[in-house]
């Protein structure tokens, strides 16, 4: 009789090996998706080809995917910082909303400022609002021993309702026939597009912030402390690391990045604040952060791929009339197979006789 045993690896799998596992997981999920397509009578190969074509098959498609990846990347970068410390920030959605609100407040209050002053002011307001919103659960956690998962999650609803209160009420555009939206931002408050592409300069923000976060963990003392505390809180506390201060720090950084994403969505893509800005990037960010194992570069790749998947599914819907729910199914399959594949990085299967 052959048996399969699971044993722990002495060393984690090499980079090449990890990539192989990841690719096999992706291919497995695509095969399963193809099978589902087959069962509902859609040619599976056509389906997958249309998906890829819509996501990465042309300059437009790639631009669209990058554009959609920008807010996902920033939110995900944010939650990844908190996750490194094992602080479970589920509140990127609310911090994103607050960021958009902060940026909008500046854009509506000082529309005539020159671009060079207005945009940085909007970024600052967004980061402060998002970061401040992130700081509340961190402080509640320390003072009242509340669970940050619950508090950040609940605060999402408060943030979204606050956003709705503003756009249905005081900030409502008087010329909108009562529909919930603020007036359009002035030209100076809009982040422009790069050259002739449809991608906005938010991409550059992503690159810079990504490098900064990477550098923070790689080179700074505080970054090291966050990692150390994340690996073992008790040991780190024993070594005298300022755990409580780090919790506040990561939550503020986390919220500020999500807020930055909110600023970009309001300024660059919607050009105003409206409730439809909230499409769940804050929750997608959590998935992306886990898929990418919290590493900034991998988060970039994972955001791009996931954004591409969502863009590609639209193409599949349009050309093959696949239901929208199919996109969610593929996404779920990928997440499942990739996370399950994670088993192989730390464990190996050994086939042997009993």
């Amino acid at each position: 009789m052959f048996h399969i045993r699971i044993t722990k690896r002495q060393e984690p799998l090499s980079v090449g090996g990890s990539c192989l596992v990841l690719l096999s997981a992706l291919i497995l999920s695509l095969l399963l998706s193809g099978l589902l397509l087959f069962f509902r009578g859609t040619p599976p190969v056509d389906g997958i080809v249309t998906l890829f074509q819509g996501a990465f098959g042309s300059r437009w498609a790639i631009e669209d995917s990058i554009l959609k990846a920008i807010p996902i990347f920033l939110c995900s970068l944010g939650v990844a910082i908190a996750f490194r410390l094992q602080i479970w920030n589920i509140g990127a959605e609310g911090q994103f909303a607050l960021g958009a609100i902060g940026a909008t407040w500046v854009a509506l209050s000082f529309p005539q400022w020159p671009k060079i002053a207005l945009l940085p002011a909007m970024v600052l307001a967004a980061a402060v609002a998002g970061g401040g919103w992130g700081m509340i659960p961190a402080i509640l956690r320390q003072r009242l021993k509340t669970n940050e998962i619950i508090v950040t999650l609940m605060m999402n609803y408060i943030a979204i309702l606050f956003l709705e209160y503003l756009v249905y009420g005081v900030w409502k555009d008087p010329t909108s026939f009562g529909f919930p939206m603020t007036p359009e931002f002035s030209e100076q408050a809009i982040v422009g597009k790069i050259g002739t592409t449809s991608i906005n300069w938010g991409l550059a923000h992503c690159l810079i912030l990504g490098v900064l976060v990477w550098g923070f963990f790689k080179f700074t003392r505080t970054g090291f402390e966050v990692k150390a505390c994340g690996d073992n809180v008790r040991a780190a506390r024993y070594a005298g690391l300022p755990y409580d201060r780090l919790v506040v720090l990561v939550m503020v950084l986390s919220g500020a990045l999500a807020g930055w994403a909110g600023f970009l969505e309001a300024s660059a893509t919607v050009n105003r604040l409206q409730p439809s800005i909230m499409v769940g990037y804050g929750y997608t960010a959590i998935v992306v952060a886990w898929l990418a194992r919290l590493h900034p570069l991998s988060i970039g790749i994972a955001s791009f791929l996931l954004a591409g998947l969502r863009v590609g599914v639209e193409n599949m819907q349009l050309d093959l009339q696949v239901p929208a729910a199919f996109g969610g199914i593929i996404e779920g399959l990928i997440l499942l197979t990739v996370l399950a594949g994670g088993l192989f990085t730390h464990y190996r299967l050994i086939r042997g006789k009993k």
Binding site: L23, Q53, G57, E265, A324
Partner: protein, 352 residues
């Protein structure tokens, strides 16, 4: 590894080729905000799409569950790039995204449902569903015993507020003591939330449930409690046969086929269209067996009057505080109707 590389190359190259060489057929695209299987708003639009699909030399396609905002711009843009000749976007939040795309594709005909912006190649259109809601209000007002009607409503925007007001005026026209209680769900399509909303209305004594939601959740809640209900969008009687009295319904087919035909022979011009009962865009679903003949007759007579030109929002009409908002003998203009943000007297709830 070599195998993997080959696989990736194959995937990418497959992505880059595949251009369609179809014969010169007209392509018509539809963008929906919710899934089409919901018996609701998007379903009604999709029935209209199927009428277009049945035309000779026309193919149609759609994308469903498209979030309002930046995602919709990409979907509309993608259709325009793929050479669609006519594009219908059927939710309010698609307005600005569609306008942006319309400016880039002057030869494509864009039609936006439920908004107010226009361009040389972009129409806006909607139906006067409030007329049908007025009629459904007559049914509800005639059938209630508690004189409390419940109304599960989506968002406090003029379209929904106008519908609630029309429903209330219809009910009051046969039963002056009636009040309409409103709860906002802040969802268009969420069966569980909308059912809960209807239950909360039942708890405060409503014995007829009406809805401005796209799911049949409120209908189910009414049937479980054993009270009557008014559906919306399409005939929802299958979901609650014992409760469902009638429903204001959409009938988009005639308008959609007309527009596509006009675009084909080059006579289409951007317009701001707001057809109603007269044009057959909106109607009432068939009455359930529980609606007595005299009520049906009353509704049919009223329907004939509206088709003949009767205006529902003719003063004196007071708001919740009793202030006269539409003066006696004066009919509200379309502009006032489109920007309506106040409730008529008899509605219990707020527009915030």
């Amino acid at each position: 590894m070599r195998l993997l590389k080959a696989l990736i190359v194959a995937m990418l190259s497959l992505g880059f080729c595949t251009v369609s060489f179809a014969a010169k057929e007209m392509k018509v695209g539809f963008v929906y905000v919710s899934p089409i299987g919901d018996a609701g708003y998007s379903y009604a639009h999709d029935v209209g799409r199927q009428a277009v699909e049945a035309m000779d030399g026309v193919t149609t396609s759609y994308v469903e569950s498209v979030p309002e905002g930046p995602d919709s711009e990409r979907v509309i843009l993608n259709m325009a790039r793929k050479g669609y000749d006519v594009i219908f976007a059927t939710s309010f939040g698609y307005m600005d995204p569609m306008l942006k795309v319309a400016k880039q594709f002057p030869k494509v005909a864009f039609l936006h449902c439920s908004g107010f912006k226009m361009a040389d190649n972009m129409s806006n259109y909607f139906g006067r569903i409030y007329q049908a809601r007025y009629l459904s209000g007559i049914v509800a007002g005639s059938m209630t015993k508690s004189n409390v009607l419940g109304y599960a409503a989506a968002f406090p925007i003029p379209e929904v507020i106008r519908g609630i007001n029309a429903f209330t005026l219809g009910a009051q026209s046969v039963n002056p003591d009636v009040t309409v209680r409103v709860v906002w769900t802040k969802t268009w399509y969420d069966p569980a939330t909308e059912k809960e909303a209807a239950k909360s209305l039942l708890d405060v004594g409503a014995d007829v449930i009406a809805q401005h939601q796209d799911s049949p959740g409120p209908q189910e809640a009414a049937q479980e409690k054993g009270v009557y209900s008014i559906g919306y969008n399409s005939d929802m009687s299958a979901f609650a046969p014992k409760s469902h009295m009638t429903a204001p319904v959409w009938n988009w087919g005639p308008y959609y086929t007309k527009v596509v035909e006009q675009v084909r022979n080059g006579t289409w011009k951007a317009e701001s269209a707001w057809p109603g009962l007269k044009e057959g865009i909106v109607d009432l679903a068939p009455f359930g067996a529980m609606v007595p003949q005299n009520v049906q007759d009353k509704v049919n007579k009223e329907k004939a009057d509206i088709i003949g030109g009767k205006k529902i929002f003719t003063g004196p009409i007071k708001d919740q505080k009793g202030v006269v908002k539409i003066a006696g003998g004066v009919a509200a203009t379309d502009k006032e109707l489109l920007g309506m943000t106040w409730f008529v007297k008899g509605v219990v709830g707020t527009t915030e």
